[in-house]
């Protein structure tokens, strides 16, 4: 159903800049993103103001995630053993291709559980999973003739539009009700309306059929609890519960870093995640899934499979970006980010956008994605809001360092920075350069400000004047002053 090109295409600086320009010119997107920014950040701040011991809870959340990552091998083994003890099955996938193959095999095997005589294509009901975006699962399944339906309302909308989600928490953040209405009118013959409740009811009815005829439910996982083998799904709509309860087979897909040690630790994370994501104390549903339906239970899936995906995480764990693995995917750093608020999620060209996405994309997918980290002012709003206090600006700088080490910046920048360093390393050269610059900008400028500079600096003067360099810099004035002082003493 979706038709995006392979991911690494379009990751050049030029392609990224073109997507940014498109986003900046899209008035619908601009309105939607401003609204997202204002409401989400204000809501989140209120939610944390009302949380007792909020800062200590954040410290604890961070400590829990650090503890997990520092002994990830042990917790993974414990988690896997617990899942199997509960009757689930654990599958390990080293990369996206292996994960796709495992899931494809499981879905095809589910054909054996079909009611006799059913000949429609195998149907997968999916609830939100960023991992499935990361491994491009839908493509892989659809290529084998399997029908995959996203059941989260926002994901359902973007899937119908042939787009990836634009935000970790709010996949259709870039759309207004007008776009959704037009889409539903076209796809389902809905009579024109701007009533959100009506559109929601229509989606409910469409998806209801999917839940009750799906062969397999696929979900993401917010946290896996090592102690108990429990999968925690934190949702509001109820689609996550339906996907994991009604179909006879449930496949849960998770990055292997997504663990907490104990149930008590999960409780702490649960105080942080909904407040950060949607300003809720708790979401409508917290599903704690421990294994498939037991013999004594009246309903639930007959099989539960957990697919643990590495896809670059183990490598990241050993490098300077390890801290980014603490992320609990709350989306708060996206909401607060002034750059995300201008360009939205699609401009990044990665399943993970925004501040943390720029780090994670480079960490998981390599230097093809390191340009994203340059699109930041390092303003630090993300670090302040992150519930687990990830130092995102410092991580962005690490990515930039890798970008330079890989020789990726344009020549003008490489030369410019080297020249700058050469000049600045020695006060004499620095003084000479100041004189030269004063002379040059004096010639270019009228009055004290320059209106036009040559490329690449025209990117500055397209929107702003630039001040002329001072004919007498501070250090000269200081000398004169010191001489005057010496005389008067």
């Amino acid at each position: 159903m979706t038709t995006d090109p392979p991911r690494t295409a379009g990751q050049s600086h030029g392609a990224f800049k073109a997507r940014i320009a498109t986003a900046l010119r899209n008035p619908i997107l601009q309105v939607a993103l401003d609204r997202n920014h204002e409401r989400r950040v204000a809501g989140r701040d209120l939610a944390f103001a009302a949380l007792p011991a909020a800062e200590a809870t954040r410290d604890r959340g961070r400590a829990i995630r650090l503890e997990t990552l520092s002994h990830l091998d042990c917790y993974l083994e414990r988690f896997a053993a617990s899942v199997e003890r509960n009757g689930g099955r654990v599958h390990w996938a080293a990369d996206a291709a292996e994960a796709q193959q495992i899931i494809l095999d499981l879905v095809q095997a589910a054909a054996g559980r079909r009611p006799p005589g059913r000949t429609t294509p195998l149907l997968v009901a999916k609830s939100k999973s960023m991992m499935s975006e990361e491994i491009e699962l839908n493509h892989a399944l659809e290529a084998e003739g399997i029908r995959v339906v996203e059941t989260d309302l926002g994901e359902f909308i973007v899937q119908l539009r042939g787009e990836p989600p634009a935000h970790l928490i709010t996949p259709a953040v870039h759309l207004r009700r007008e776009e959704v209405s037009a889409l539903f009118a076209e796809r389902f013959g809905m009579a024109p309306t701007l009533d959100v409740a009506h559109m929601t009811a229509l989606a409910r009815a469409e998806l209801r059929r999917v839940f009750f005829s799906a062969d397999v439910g696929i979900s993401g996982v917010n946290f896996g609890v090592a102690e108990t083998g429990t999968l925690a799904l934190i949702t509001n709509e109820g689609n996550g519960r339906l996907c994991t309860t009604v179909p006879p087979v449930h496949i849960a897909l998770m990055g292997l870093e997504r663990l907490v040690p104990t149930l008590a630790d999960l409780e702490v994370m649960l105080r942080l995640l909904p407040r950060s994501a949607t300003a809720q104390k708790i979401t409508s549903y917290v599903s704690l899934l421990s294994g498939p339906r037991r013999a004594f239970e009246p309903d639930g899936p007959e099989e539960l499979h957990v697919v643990l995906v590495d896809n670059g995480r183990a490598r990241m764990l050993g490098g300077a970006l390890a801290e980014a693995l603490l992320c609990i995917r709350c989306g708060a750093c996206l909401n607060v980010c002034p750059v995300f608020t201008e360009i939205g999620g699609h401009a990044y060209g990665s399943p993970y956008g925004g501040p943390i996405g720029s780090v994670v994309s480079a960490g998981l997918f390599g230097s093809d994605f390191s340009e994203l980290a340059n699109a930041s002012t390092l303003c630090g709003a993300c670090r302040d809001i992150c519930p687990v206090r990830i130092d995102i600006p410092t991580m962005l700088l690490v990515v930039r360092g890798q970008h330079v080490a890989a020789g990726l910046p344009p020549a003008w920048l490489r030369l410019g920075l080297r020249a700058w360093e050469w000049v600045m390393a020695q006060p004499g050269r620095y003084r000479l350069a100041q004189r030269a610059a004063a002379l040059a900008t004096g010639l270019l400028g009228r009055g004290n400000w320059v209106r036009r500079l040559p490329p690449p600096l025209n990117a500055w003067t397209d929107r702003r004047d630039f001040p002329a360099f001072a004919a007498r810099p501070f250090r000269d004035r200081w000398k004169i002053r010191a001489a005057g002082k010496a005389k008067s003493d």
Binding site: I20, S376, G380, E421, Q426
Partner: protein, 251 residues
């Protein structure tokens, strides 16, 4: 009025102020001297290395950081700089730059402990009363304060500049909408992603207009370079001044 015991500081003026806005450096000196602080200017200073560091040119940035350490280690006096951004570079950035170089990391750590942004130094370190610092300023006018990201979130200096501005008899302080939001400067970012930076600038300038201020004040000339450049292009009469220029006594 009793002031803190006579103090000496090393002024790190920053390359932007040195080369583009020397008036700001002079105002900072007047302000410090008015507060009873003796100012020294180590002449071998150049740039803290931030442009390279922020651009990912860590090797180049490290060389300049080492130069900075050499220059400012010659004296044990505190280092004061009229820039939240450059102060944050020295206080936090150097530790990251030397993360794999323990001896230089130790040097950076020691220097960071005695490096301060100007308003932070006057109020938090010397513990002067705001009117002792700013009471003699002849400035008059409606002022909005833009907290630069690196001062606000990088160094955690949240109140000092506005407390100082409020102590200037002629200042009428106007609230700036969305004050804590980034102005979109970001160094190289403003050139590499010029249109994105400009969109952020537009948001900030809308706030400035709404504040009805005549003067926009900040503790970082890098933000003000960008903001003043945009205001001039818009034909606005709002002028940008560094905090020190508003607080300092007359020449």
């Amino acid at each position: 009025m009793p002031t803190a015991s006579p103090k000496r500081v090393q002024l790190f003026v920053t390359c932007i102020i040195d080369a583009l806005f020397p008036d700001v450096g002079e105002a900072a000196v007047r302000l410090l001297e008015h507060a009873g602080v003796e100012v020294d200017f180590p002449e071998a200073q150049t740039c803290c290395g931030q442009p390279g560091y922020n651009g990912g040119f860590r090797k180049e940035a490290r060389r300049l950081a080492l130069h900075f350490l050499d220059v400012f280690e010659r004296s044990a006096d505190p280092i004061v700089t009229p820039s939240g951004s450059c102060a944050a570079m020295i206080v936090h950035g150097y530790l990251d730059l030397f993360r794999d170089d323990p001896p230089n990391r130790a040097r950076a750590k020691a220097l960071a402990a005695r490096t301060f942004e100007l308003s932070q130094f006057l109020l938090d370190e010397l513990r002067l009363a705001p009117d002792q610092v700013a009471g003699a300023s002849p400035f008059r006018g409606r002022v909005a304060y833009h907290p630069s990201c690196h001062l606000l979130r990088g160094l955690g200096v949240r109140q000092a500049p506005e407390r100082l501005l409020a102590a200037v008899p002629g200042v009428e302080l106007r609230p700036l909408p969305q004050a804590a939001e980034c102005c979109g400067f970001g160094g190289l970012f403003a050139v590499k992603y010029g249109d994105l930076s400009a969109a952020m600038l537009d948001n900030k300038l809308a706030g400035v207009r709404a504040s009805d201020a005549e003067t926009l004040v900040s503790a970082d000339m890098s933000c003000l370079l960008h903001l003043q450049g945009g205001l001039r292009r818009d034909g606005s009469t709002v002028r940008c001044l560094h905090l020190a220029q508003v607080l300092a006594p007359a020449e």
